[in-house]
């Protein structure tokens, strides 16, 4: 019977292999997360001292009683719902279009055009979009004017600012969701479709009962990724709106960051915990759902 120590010693080479990875994970993953959770239970003013004052759940109570935080949370949910719906339906539509036999020539060009923004540094992309939407410089309004369409207020009003962020983020992210759909479409069993066609199924029935069920993995992955992605929306806010106009685009990540910047560490980290729990709960629920279906 071997003891744990003997097992470890016997496999020491594997511990050696894993050591650098373990050190980085602990130093820059586990430790900061634990630290963040600890700080969320301390009074902000003492948070960084060697022996901080612990205040229990006071920070959590404070943020849940803060109307600005609740408004920010609601706004984040709204933006996330809209973005997930817009990105996934756009990505799915484009994937179906690019997968069809109609676009055999030049297919690669279209894929590259839609995927290039994914690898474009997000700061650079959003900087360009910020100025495209600008009223005096931007190409957006000059184009609308040329086409005889009404002016788009861009980043200057609440509704259009959120819409502008959504457009810029869709430009940056949708190509990624599209290639997940395309990868799934390309490995589907086409013989099933032929069989269904021979049996007299209509195009709509084939999509509904033969193709879509096979695309479930792509849908689950994309929904999880997109939900996490948009719940955490941050860079686009920093670059394009700074949370404005009038807090209209002040999402949770940015709000937490602002508090951190003001030295309100306890509340900022409490918000981080709330967002963290949301993200974990959503991903686990969806993965469980996916696992149960596929097993």
């Amino acid at each position: 019977m071997t003891t744990t120590m003997e097992t470890v010693w016997h496999n020491r080479i594997f511990y050696l292999f894993v050591l650098p990875f373990a050190v980085l994970t602990i130093l820059f993953g586990v430790w900061p997360i634990v630290l963040s959770i600890i700080v969320s239970f301390t009074a902000s003013a003492t948070a960084l001292r060697p022996s901080p004052t612990y205040v229990g759940l006071a920070n959590y109570a404070a943020i849940l009683a803060d109307p600005a935080f609740l408004a920010s949370l609601l706004r984040t949910f709204l933006y996330t719902a809209l973005s997930v719906a817009a990105n996934l339906s756009f990505a799915f539509g484009m994937a179906v279009l690019l997968d069809s036999a109609l676009l055999r020539h030049g297919n690669l060009f279209f894929r590259l055009a839609l995927f290039l923004p994914v690898v474009t540094p997000d700061v650079a992309g959003y900087v360009v979009w910020r100025w495209l939407f600008d009223r005096s410089f931007g190409a957006m309004n000059a184009f609308l004017d040329l086409a005889g369409l009404p002016e788009f207020a861009g980043l200057t009003t609440a509704t259009t600012a959120m819409l502008s962020l959504l457009i810029a983020e869709l430009w940056h992210h949708a190509g990624f969701y599209m290639i997940i759909f395309l990868a799934n479409l390309s490995i589907r069993d086409r013989a099933l479709e032929e069989a269904a066609q021979i049996d007299g199924a209509t195009r709509g029935q084939i999509w509904r009962f033969v193709i879509l069920p096979q695309l479930k993995p792509a849908f689950i992955i994309n929904v999880v990724y997109a939900l996490i992605q948009f719940l955490k929306t941050f860079t686009v806010v920093v670059v394009m709106t700074k949370g404005g106009p009038n807090e209209a685009t002040n999402f949770v990540s940015y709000y937490a960051y602002q508090l951190f910047d003001q030295g309100r560490y306890g509340e900022a980290t409490a918000m981080a915990s709330v967002l963290f729990v949301l993200v974990i709960a959503i991903s686990l629920t969806l993965y469980r759902l996916g696992d149960r279906e596929s097993s």
């Binding site: 097992t7 594997f14 586990v30 900061p32 900087v127 963290f276």
Partner: protein, 283 residues
């Protein structure tokens, strides 16, 4: 179906499909064109006609206008970007390959399951909010404002881990057993058998890591004490935040930030797109 013999309804459908894909592609590529053209045009000229498709004249005079941003030479940001991205990519590939290999070969060893969960929790933590406590950790480790701090933080990423893990899982057990029966040590198995097989996936991971780390800005901004350790995206953000900003300079800096990764992506597009798709499917 052959397009020449296709019935008119199909021809029409095909024309519609091309028109739609074409319009979407042009809309997606237009921001690049506008950025590029604007980098050659004066602020005055852009305000007069924002839609011009070609600049009035081609000259690189704007480069002298952004040769120094926030007291730091442009060249330094470029060197920082290349250096930080290249070193963090190499480190990431080495550390993740070894770690993922050990965790896949011996998942049940004491501590390995905990480590795996620790890593999974880390990548689920909202990234921008993780960076904030990382500031405190860097402070405690004395790594604030150092290249080492930035590079170490950028060396950890989910897609790298998932791509390697997925690959190592697919290696047939017999291949490794055969090598061990032939008397190879575990180190020899890794370096002589597994890693040579892993060359293509290693190249994919390196490429994707390079693209992702080139785009990083928030951790670099937080860990830096002065603009001396900024990379191009961080410098671009700083410049974009300034009041009375130099529009033409911002566009030129955007071009400089985007061009290297755009070229790299186009040169290796299949590897990047396939890699990102399969790394996500595992994740």
């Amino acid at each position: 179906m052959e397009t020449d013999t296709a019935p008119p309804a199909n021809r029409l459908l095909q024309a519609g499909a091309y028109a739609l894909a074409g319009i979407v592609s042009v809309a997606f590529l237009y921001p690049y064109w506008w950025m590029l053209v604007s980098a050659f045009r004066s602020t005055r000229a852009i305000m007069d006609s924002p839609l011009r498709l070609l600049p009035e004249r081609f000259d690189l005079s704007i480069l002298s206008g952004i040769s120094n941003i926030g007291g730091v030479p442009l060249l330094r940001y470029i060197v920082n970007s290349i250096g930080i991205t290249a070193v963090s990519t190499l480190l990431s590939v080495a550390v993740t390959a070894l770690g993922a290999y050990a965790l896949t070969r011996r998942p049940k060893l004491p501590g390995f399951t905990v480590l795996r969960y620790g890593f999974l929790v880390t990548i689920m933590y909202p990234y921008m909010l993780l960076v904030i406590p990382v500031y405190l950790v860097m402070f405690k480790l004395g790594l604030l404002g150092t290249y080492a701090g930035i590079i170490l933080f950028l060396a950890l990423g989910p897609i790298q881990f998932f791509l390697f893990e997925q690959f190592f899982r697919k290696i047939p057990g017999e291949v490794i057993e055969a090598a061990i029966i032939d008397g190879a040590s575990e180190a020899q198995v890794l370096f002589r058998v597994v890693l040579p097989m892993a060359a293509p996936i290693t190249a994919t991971v390196a490429l994707i890591t390079f693209l992702l780390n080139w785009a990083q800005w928030f951790p670099i901004l937080v860990i830096s004490k002065t603009p001396d350790t900024y990379t191009l995206p961080v410098a671009l953000l700083a410049m974009n935040t300034e009041l009375g900003s130099n529009f033409q300079g911002i566009m030129a800096l955007s071009v400089i930030t985007t061009l290297p990764v755009a070229v790299l992506f186009l040169a290796a597009q299949k590897r990047v797109m396939d890699g990102m798709a399969s790394g996500a499917v595992k994740g």
